[in-house]
């Protein structure tokens, strides 16, 4: 088994162990809210070089955990992995990714976010590792009865890709809704990351990763 396929499982075990040690999830009366969730993601990865685009789609599953030690700050971690298939069978690839983030409310409805992510594509011939730092903002819009909308925008100021020059421009956005009912929460989020690489002899290279994530989880603690 590809070691990157086991990443979500490892992340889930690690996060569960961490949660078990947190007072927030102790059986004696939690105080720090901790959310754990499972997600399934529909992923569309498109690579366009010199006007020729090739896409690969697939489904990944993952695990997410979030901790809010203060009402205005939240730490989060996420992992996912799966297989993307393409019309060109040689372009089929596995994808595994982990991401950690920190968000803090600057206004009751606006959070500033920073984070780091690692992603690996593993194909038949080679594998490629992506490392990126992300910073941005997230608007949290009140809807009703535990429902809220989310609109995200971010830039990735530092991205390194094995075998490629760093993108000259990388940014992303997303939107969706989150539902919360007592300790149960769920979300449906659509996000797009775009990476513009410097032009080469083959032409301009653009990579896009679109994700539609459906996530459901349970909140422990306060």
């Amino acid at each position: 088994m590809n070691r990157f396929r086991t990443l979500p499982l490892l992340a889930a075990i690690t996060a569960s162990a961490a949660c078990a040690r947190l007072p927030g999830v102790s059986s004696t009366g939690a105080s720090i809210p901790v959310g754990v969730a499972l997600s399934t993601n529909r992923v569309d990865h498109v690579v366009a070089v010199g006007g020729n685009a090739e896409g690969a789609q697939g489904t990944t599953v993952g695990f997410a955990v979030s901790v809010a030690p203060r009402p205005w700050i939240e730490l989060s971690g996420r992992s996912a992995s799966g297989r993307l298939t393409s019309e060109n069978a040689r372009a089929n690839r596995d994808i595994a990714e982990v991401e950690a983030g920190l968000s803090f409310l600057v206004l009751p409805w606006l959070a500033a976010t920073v984070g780091a992510q690692a992603r690996r594509y593993t194909g038949a011939l080679a594998s490629q590792r992506w490392l990126a730092l992300r910073t941005g903002a997230e608007a949290r819009l009140d809807l009703a009865n535990g429902a809220r909308g989310v609109i995200r925008a971010s830039v990735l100021p530092k991205v390194t890709v094995d075998g490629l020059a760093s993108p000259s421009l990388a940014y992303g956005g997303g939107t969706g809704i989150e539902l919360s009912r007592k300790r149960l929460f769920a979300s449906l989020l659509y996000s797009v990351d775009r990476f513009d690489f410097p032009a080469s002899v083959e032409g301009k290279r653009v990579e896009q990763l679109s994700t539609l994530m459906l996530q459901a989880g349970w909140r422990f603690g306060r």
Binding site: H45, V46, A53, L141, A144, R194, L212
Partner: protein, 349 residues
């Protein structure tokens, strides 16, 4: 001549305001010494000087009472019983607690004194000395007296109160009686800090004469400092429990904003040209729009914010719990209350 008259006047004035009590005390001491030495005639002479209206010296109440007592005793020894009784009664009327020590006075004197008490009716309450007691285990002892057999009623009440007081004793009495008081008023509650009176009413069994007296005292509850309970939560300490009416339109607008963002995002990132990003965006747009419409209708009839209501309830409960704990601790402190009783002159403040 004028100077001599002025000096004489000054001397006369000075002799009048000189510490006459010392002279009276000296005369009384000498008289008692004569009495003890059975030189009764010489004692009588001095004692008569003490009580004489013409005495140039100031005579205190206690000195006068003592002089009357020894006059009565001296006359009793001389078998002048009626005169002895007159002086004994004079002493008893001024201080019903006047008594003869049986180890010092003879049976004749004691018998004569007893007769004087039978002929005189008075009730009295001994002035209360300053004392501190723990009402759980100790008592304030109040002393009352009737000069002879009588029915007596003693009660305690706030000074100047016209209401019936707490009855300490109601029954027959002859002589001195100690009344232990727990410091409580009706209902068993501890008397609050303030001025009180011990009122004693009596009616003689021998001659049906009535008498009454009042003794005033101050009572202070002494307990450790109490904690203040937490004040009511201020408005800024509570979360709003209802959305403003505009929240309906805002919820709809937010939902539509999410839908619009989802539609625009593929175009803004250029991903609309490739792959399935647009279908993802459509799903997000539909769910966002639906959520906005749901928000509008959900809030049409209910603007409550259940989360805030729950949080406010927790805060209120926390405050009530803290106050209950403070009240419990205060109750424990109050249970340790001691009462300090001290004499007070005059009527209630």
């Amino acid at each position: 001549m004028k100077i001599a008259a002025s000096v004489a006047l000054l001397w006369l004035t000075a002799t009048t305001i000189l510490p006459a009590q010392d002279n009276t005390a000296d005369m009384l001491q000498r008289a008692i010494r004569f009495y003890d030495d059975v030189q009764v005639e010489r004692a009588l002479t001095l004692l008569r000087q003490v009580v004489s209206p013409g005495s140039p010296y100031e005579v205190s109440r206690d000195q006068r009472i003592q002089a009357y007592k020894y006059l009565g005793a001296s006359l009793a020894i001389q078998n002048m019983r009626d005169s002895a009784i007159v002086y004994f009664r004079a002493a008893i009327e001024r201080d019903p607690f006047t008594d003869l020590d049986p180890r010092k006075f003879s049976p004749v004197e004691l018998t004569t004194f007893a007769e004087a008490r039978r002929r005189t009716f008075a009730v009295a309450a001994r002035p209360i000395a300053r004392t501190t007691v723990d009402p759980r285990v100790e008592r304030v002892v109040l002393s009352i007296l009737t000069t002879h057999a009588a029915t007596v009623r003693a009660e305690i009440r706030p000074a100047g109160s016209a209401l019936p007081g707490t009855v300490l004793y109601d029954g027959e009495n002859d002589g001195l009686r100690d009344l232990p008081w727990s410091g409580t008023l009706g209902g068993g509650r501890l008397a609050p800090t303030g001025r009180y009176e011990l009122a004693v009413f009596g009616e003689s069994r021998l001659n049906q004469r009535r008498d009454s007296t009042r003794s005033y005292f101050d009572l202070l509850q002494d307990f450790p400092a109490l904690e203040d309970t937490l004040p009511s939560l201020r408005a800024d300490e509570l979360l709003p429990e209802r959305h403003p009416p505009s929240a309906r339109r805002r919820g709809l607008a937010n939902g539509l904003g999410i839908a619009a963002t989802a539609i625009i995002l593929p175009y803004a990132t250029g991903s609309a040209r490739y792959g399935s990003s647009r279908s993802f965006a459509s799903v997000a747009a539909i769910s966002g729009g639906a959520a906005g419409i749901y928000a509008y209708f959900a809030r049409r009839n209910n603007l409550d914010i259940p989360e805030n209501i729950a949080i406010n309830r927790v805060r209120q409960t926390r405050r009530l719990t803290a106050n209950a704990e403070i009240q419990r601790r205060n109750g424990e402190k109050l249970a340790e209350t001691k009462i300090v009783v001290s004499p007070a002159a005059g009527v209630g403040r």
